[in-house]
């Protein structure tokens, strides 16, 4: 075979880069259709209320209003998971969070729609609301969903090995509560959907529906639209234009996507809805606030004997991806290292807040923060080196972890090596003086879920290729480009297999009429699954070219080499003349007149063909030149048989190790991250620039969650629904990030590639926490590590009082301001509350704000 790749592994610009830098690329909100109306949604001002009556009379009278739709116009429930069909595009009986969707006005102008919203009269019957998951779990009445007792969406209890014995055998057992507050994707593009019906020429009524939407999952959107609108899927076309970032926030069907279609059906003309930034925060589906009670047993040499975790997630008002999130938290807890005994109790709890869903590093991030922090605490207690303890607990692949995950490639040891060397870990850890420190943490993530959401045997990805006489290669893939480089990856793989230039390859993606089914861009599945499908499709079409080329060149198919837009017989001396031939081939290929072809035929036997010549020969030979390939995860990568075993298994896992260097200002509590060394095992870097971009982006997003990002709630009302208040890091707050790509070449991945887009995020938060400990000796168990939390911990350290930060108790707390992030400082007026609301009762019981938090 060829010694090296010609396209794979070389940095290339994203195929759509120029579209983005010139502003010519179209995102959903950039599209418009003749006669298009603007849709605006009425949201609930109450966290939990029954809807008694909706009166549209006054709103309908507003000039410019064409249609108003409510829950009655689309009463079918849906949800991303088949077990969680608990949402309506527009509510039918009650609202479950501030921001829940009640009605939608379609009008000729935005101003008219907004005026009409003001005039919709809704009569509510307020209900007691639940905001804290641990309170909510005790609920007996006023349940958020009647069929979910105690407001528990799902609970799972997993035992692997013998955790009791493991903990008994341990020389030291660490136990603590960790908490990570709620964060959201805040993708730069607000959600947007444009829906348009065509008239059916036979019936004269509304027929086919086309939806353009900012989605990561066009196929699931098509599926849910079909369900709610009661139309066959074949009558619905979903097109994904450019998407301005997703991070999981667009990986399920967001209410506006269905509302736009329902409104377009009622208005009988196209309707576009684009969320405001505030609405994006309400739509949410981010990472839930997570409470982790973690217990880890170790031998004196650092070998882990057992882990026991109880995890409670504050899931918000609807199911969303909830069961998957809580399962990922458990499945990935014990699979990074070799841990013989694991007990996991996970609770996904409903509260009257926007639903949480999937966010970059789905399910694993908060639990990884807890585990890697606790490992660091253990190292400090036993006076062991954090890198050495991690090395001591490595898996020995190929292997199957205690919870049934198959691991074939495992670049973690090399990742640890890289960051330890680069950061001079052995000589710098603990030796930078008070106020400055370094910390280490590791993480991992799946390369796509081995089991799909909708149970079926269909392939997870399919790719079709068509090549025509012009020598152009058109690739049809359902994979959703959301900025991660999926189209570029597809073009690279196809070009590599066919030995042609990237320029020849045109990728048509994510249009359900044109492209075969692909499950979408989530759980880091695209490179491995769509990449494999693309590789197989290209090999399929290459075989057809080979047959024709072998005839032309009078050799066997095995002797052919495809490279640089040429096909030659192995051994033919092309190295020196390659460039020249390539140039020739291109010019001739573009013309491809019959006369040229004739001339070719008359020439003597040659030892090479240009790509076009081979293509034309193949088409002459077989009539058409198309290929197809698909990918389904292998049976032995699909995990165990226990309840909940479906989440966690993946064809391959990525690995990361990171070291963060921070300084802590003890006057202000400000933590500054100076540098992060991040090594990521992505199997093989198909496009190193894109891999680095994904790793840096993940680390950076983790940094935001570690230091400043947090959704702050007051009685179910989001206090910071804007980019300014939510405070994702800007360029001045972003440290230097040095990346190291580790290539473990996974046997399951296309050219050995695994995921790169999510795995690094989870390591950043604990790496920073551990660095803060190294700097000033405080252990922060609640993220984000805001100046308030850092100061509280520093004061506790000085006064030597025990402070459990996760319960908001700080005896040294100044009375004038809220110490501990979050809700207590907002004891002002929230939305109107039901008199029996637990929070109201609590308030009347004790007029003084109690130092024990937790009504958020």
């Amino acid at each position: 075979m060829q010694k090296e790749f010609s396209i794979i592994g070389k940095p290339v610009a994203l195929v759509d880069a120029a579209q983005k830098t010139t502003g010519l690329g179209k995102y959903t909100d950039d599209l418009s259709l003749p006669g298009m109306l603007v849709g605006k949604i009425l949201h609930s001002p109450y966290p939990h209320a029954r809807i008694r009556k909706i009166d549209l009379t006054r709103a309908r009278a507003v000039q410019g209003v064409v249609a108003i739709v409510t829950g009655q116009d689309a009463p079918t429930s849906y949800g991303i998971l088949p077990i969680g069909h608990d949402e309506h595009a527009l509510v039918v009986d009650k609202v479950r969070y501030v921001g829940d969707n009640i009605a939608c006005v379609a009008a000729t102008t935005e101003a008219a729609a907004e005026n009409a919203l003001e005039l919709i009269d809704v009569e509510y019957e307020l209900l007691p609301a639940w905001f804290d998951p641990e309170d909510s779990m005790k609920a007996e009445s006023n349940l958020i969903h009647e069929n979910k007792p105690h407001n528990i969406e799902k609970e799972y209890h997993h035992v692997f090995g013998d955790p009791e014995r493991g903990l008994a055998e341990a020389d030291y057992v660490a136990e603590a509560r960790y908490m990570a507050n709620e964060v959201t994707h805040a993708a730069m593009e607000p959600h947007s959907t444009l829906a348009s019906f065509e008239f059916d020429p036979q019936t004269g009524k509304q027929g086919r529906l086309t939806v353009w939407s900012s989605t990561q999952v066009p196929y699931y959107l098509q599926h849910k639209l079909s369900l709610v609108l009661d139309m066959p899927m074949s009558q619905i076309r979903v097109i994904k234009p450019l998407v301005g970032g997703g991070f999981g926030g667009k990986s399920e069907v967001i209410p506006l996507e269905i509302i736009a279609a329902v409104a377009a059906r009622a208005a009988k003309t196209p309707v576009k809805i684009t969320y405001t930034r505030e609405e994006v925060f309400w739509a949410h589906r981010g990472r839930p606030r997570t409470i982790i009670d973690l217990k880890t047993g170790v031998k004196n040499d650092g070998r882990i004997t057992a882990v026991r975790a109880r995890v409670v997630q504050d899931g918000g008002g609807y199911c969303s991806y909830g069961p998957v999130t809580i399962l990922y938290s458990g499945a990935l807890l014990g699979a990074l290292y070799d841990i013989p005994n694991v007990q996991y109790d996970g609770y996904r709890v409903l509260t009257n807040k926007p639903a949480c869903g999937a966010m970059r590093g789905h399910g694993t991030v908060n639990v990884r923060f807890a585990f890697e922090s606790q490992l660091d605490e253990i190292c400090a207690h036993l006076k062991l080196d954090a890198a050495a303890v991690r090395r001591k607990n490595l898996l020995k692949p190929p292997c199957v972890t205690v919870n049934g995950l198959r691991v074939l490639s495992y670049g973690l040891p090399e990742c640890i090596e890289k960051v330890a060397n680069a950061s001079q870990w052995p000589v710098r850890r603990g030796r930078l003086g008070r106020g400055r420190g370094i910390g280490m943490a590791c993480s991992h993530y799946v390369s796509g879920a081995a089991n799909s959401i909708i149970k079926s045997d269909m392939p997870h990805s399919t790719v079709n290729i068509k090549i025509d006489r012009d020598g152009g290669v058109v690739v049809y893939t359902g994979a959703s480009e959301i900025g991660q480089g999926s189209d570029t990856m597809t073009a690279q793989i196809v070009a590599e297999v066919l030995g042609c230039s990237m320029k020849r390859v045109k990728v048509i993606a994510a249009d359900t009429d044109l492209t075969p089914i692909d499950l979408g861009s989530y759980s880091s599945r695209v490179t491995l699954m769509s990449g494999n499908a693309a590789q197989r499709a290209a090999e399929d079409v290459r075989k057809k070219i080979e047959q024709a080329a072998a005839k032309k060149l009078n050799c066997s198919q095995e002797e052919l080499v495809f490279r640089g837009d040429l096909i030659w017989r192995r051994g033919a001396e092309l190295e020196n003349t390659g460039e020249q031939l390539r140039a020739q081939g291109r010019i001739e290929g573009q013309i491809l007149r019959e006369s040229v072809l004739q001339e070719r035929k008359e020439q003597d036997a040659r030892d090479h063909l240009s790509f076009e010549e081979a293509v034309v020969a193949a088409i002459d030979f077989s009539g058409t030149l198309t290929g197809t390939g698909s990918y389904a995860p292998p049976a032995d990568a699909r995990g165990g048989k226990f309840k909940g075993a479906g989440v966690g298994p993946s064809p391959a896992y990525s690995y990361s190790a990171q070291v963060a260097e921070v300084s802590v200002d003890e006057e202000t509590g400000q933590v500054t991250v100076h540098k992060i060394w991040a090594a990521h095992d992505c199997g093989r870097a198909l496009n190193p620039v894109a891999v680095e971009g994904q790793v840096v982006g993940s680390v950076w997003m983790g940094l935001g969650q570690a230091l400043q990002e947090e959704m702050i709630w007051k009685d179910g009302l989001l206090m910071n629904p804007g980019l300014l208040e939510y405070r994702s890091p800007s360029s001045v707050e972003s440290p230097e990030i040095e990346t190291f790509i580790v290539e473990s070449v996974d046997p399951e991945g296309p050219f050995g590639a695994k995921e790169a887009g999510e795995g690094s995020l989870a390591a950043t938060i604990p790496a920073i926490a551990n660095a803060i400990y190294d700097a000033v000796g405080i252990r922060l168990r609640e993220a984000p590590f805001t100046p308030e939390r850092v100061l509280a911990a520093l004061r506790a350290q000085k006064s030597q009082k025990k402070v459990n930060m996760t319960e908001g108790v700080d005896p040294e707390r100044p009375v004038s301001f809220r110490e501990h992030g979050g809700s207590l400082c907002f004891r002002g007026k929230g939305p109107t509350r039901h008199p029996l609301d637990p929070a109201v009762r609590e308030q009347s019981k004790a007029e003084q704000p109690s130092p024990v938090g937790g009504d958020d």
Binding site: P11, A13, L14, D16, A17, A18, Q19, K20, T21, T22, G23, L24, G25, K26, Y27, D29, D30, S32, H185, A186, A187, M188, E189, P190, L242, V243, G244, G245, G246, F247, T274, T276, R277, E278, I482, G483, Q484, G485, V689, A690, E692, G693, V696, G697, V699, W700, M701, L703, G722, L723, L724, S728, S730, S731, V732, S734, E736, I737
Partner: protein, 164 residues
């Protein structure tokens, strides 16, 4: 509100159009002129995705009244490509992965264009400060710095070549 006739000079071309006096420049660019390159990413002028140059100064078009920009030279991202080809910074952003999802990129293009026009050799800190009004959620900014340095280098080489 009644529309009034206004005249805007965008990317060197004069456009005459009727717009309400309270209409924002961003909406006029996107809806009336079809220049959808400038994006709306927030409600409160915090993200910078709508940045345009007004007489060479970067401004947020989501908080400017279109009528107030009459008589000024408005440059949008559509006007950055020079001489029928990508500008050095546009090419560099592609090469270095400065744009991932690309939604914030038009705003960054305008900010960087202003930065380099006024400070052809900025330090790392100057670059960071200049970009701090634009938010990006994908890249972590790291690859943008490389792209900007690369563009400066390319411009310098280009200038050297043309002065030869």
């Amino acid at each position: 509100m009644k529309k009034e006739l206004i005249e805007l000079r965008v990317n060197g071309r004069i456009h005459e159009l009727a717009a309400e006096p309270n209409k924002l420049l961003l909406d006029v660019l996107r809806h009336d002129l079809g220049l959808t390159g400038s994006k709306r990413g927030c409600d409160d002028s915090s993200c910078g995705a709508c940045t345009v140059l007004i007489d060479g100064i970067p401004m947020l078009s989501c908080t400017l009244l279109a009528a107030s920009c009459q008589g000024q030279e408005i440059t949008t991202v559509e006007g950055v490509a020079e001489h029928g080809g990508l500008a050095a910074i546009q090419q560099a952003y592609g090469r270095w992965g400065g744009a991932q999802c690309g939604y914030c990129t038009p705003g960054f293009m305008m900010t960087v264009k202003y930065l380099l026009a006024n400070n052809p050799d900025p330090s790392e800190e100057e670059i960071r400060n200049a970009l701090s009004g634009n938010l990006c959620r994908c890249t972590g900014y790291e690859q943008m710095y490389q792209a900007i340095r690369d563009a400066i280098e390319a411009e310098r080489k280009g200038l050297a070549a043309s002065s030869r």
